[in-house]
Symmetry: C2
Subunit: 157 residues, 2 copies
């Protein structure tokens, strides 16, 4: 992931909730990651999703922290704040208890890039650790897919 | 750690560099951590230590990112931004290469609390993974020590 970004001269930022920093930790596990990873926010408390990660309070009030809209706003917000080409976000319920009417394992992952932001809903099985680990893997895979897509659309031009 | 904070009705935030999010991830590994952990920033790129984590640019220019002053400013900055009672910070060199004249394994960890902020220098052995893991363990231990100290000074009053 990091090598793909470095090869393209692009950077990435993270906005994490249920993963608590694990996506940033994964991206920085390899030497030389500072050439692509800029940093990000861990917006664990709901109010920090607004004050720290730039999610509009109207979005949080209307859709809640575990939603497509919040995942997209987290990604686009941190992409701006961190001055990165790409951003990935994760918000959901790690468990073991439900939260705001959402079951454990429900996770929204977001991506923001040069051509906008979007999010996708996931339903992960297992306990807290498994849900968080699955969210990290899926977030990296979502980002990789977005990078591929953009590379493809570049080639077609 | 989280249970101690919850028992005292206090909260914590994180400002991480070389650990990339691992301290936040450790604090949120247990269910119910949202009662104490607010969130924080991963300020991996040096400029984000200023723009995202509130380290004065004069501090970064004068002392560099791997310094006592930057570690303290990271902790006090994120404590403010995240509205937490406590904050812990980590900045240093994970390796394998030296950075800004600092050897791999040199790490500054900071704590900020109700009575101010301070930092301590560490020298960890091992590879990148070991240095990062040691920094996380030491950061949690530094925070635990600070909590003990404050509890002691409360009892003496």
């Amino acid at each position: 992931m990091v090598s793909v970004l470095v090869g393209r001269g692009q950077s990435v930022a993270t906005a994490e909730s249920l993963t608590g920093g694990l996506i940033g930790a994964a991206l920085t596990s390899v030497p030389g990651s500072s050439a692509a990873y800029r940093g990000g926010v861990v917006a664990y408390a709901t109010d920090l999703k607004h004050t720290l990660a730039g999610v509009p309070s109207g979005v949080l009030a209307a859709f809640g922290p575990v939603s497509e809209q919040t995942a997209v706003a987290l990604a686009t917000g941190v992409r701006d704040t961190a001055g990165a080409d790409w951003a990935v976000s994760a918000t959901g319920v790690a468990g073991p208890d439900p939260q705001d009417g959402h079951e454990p394992g429900e996770v929204w992952l977001g991506v923001a890039g040069p051509s906008g932001g979007w999010a996708r809903r996931y339903r992960f099985d297992g306990g807290r650790d498994e849900v968080r680990a699955a969210a990290v893997a899926a977030a990296l895979s979502l980002l990789a897919g977005a990078l591929d897509l953009e590379a493809g659309s570049r080639e077609q031009r």
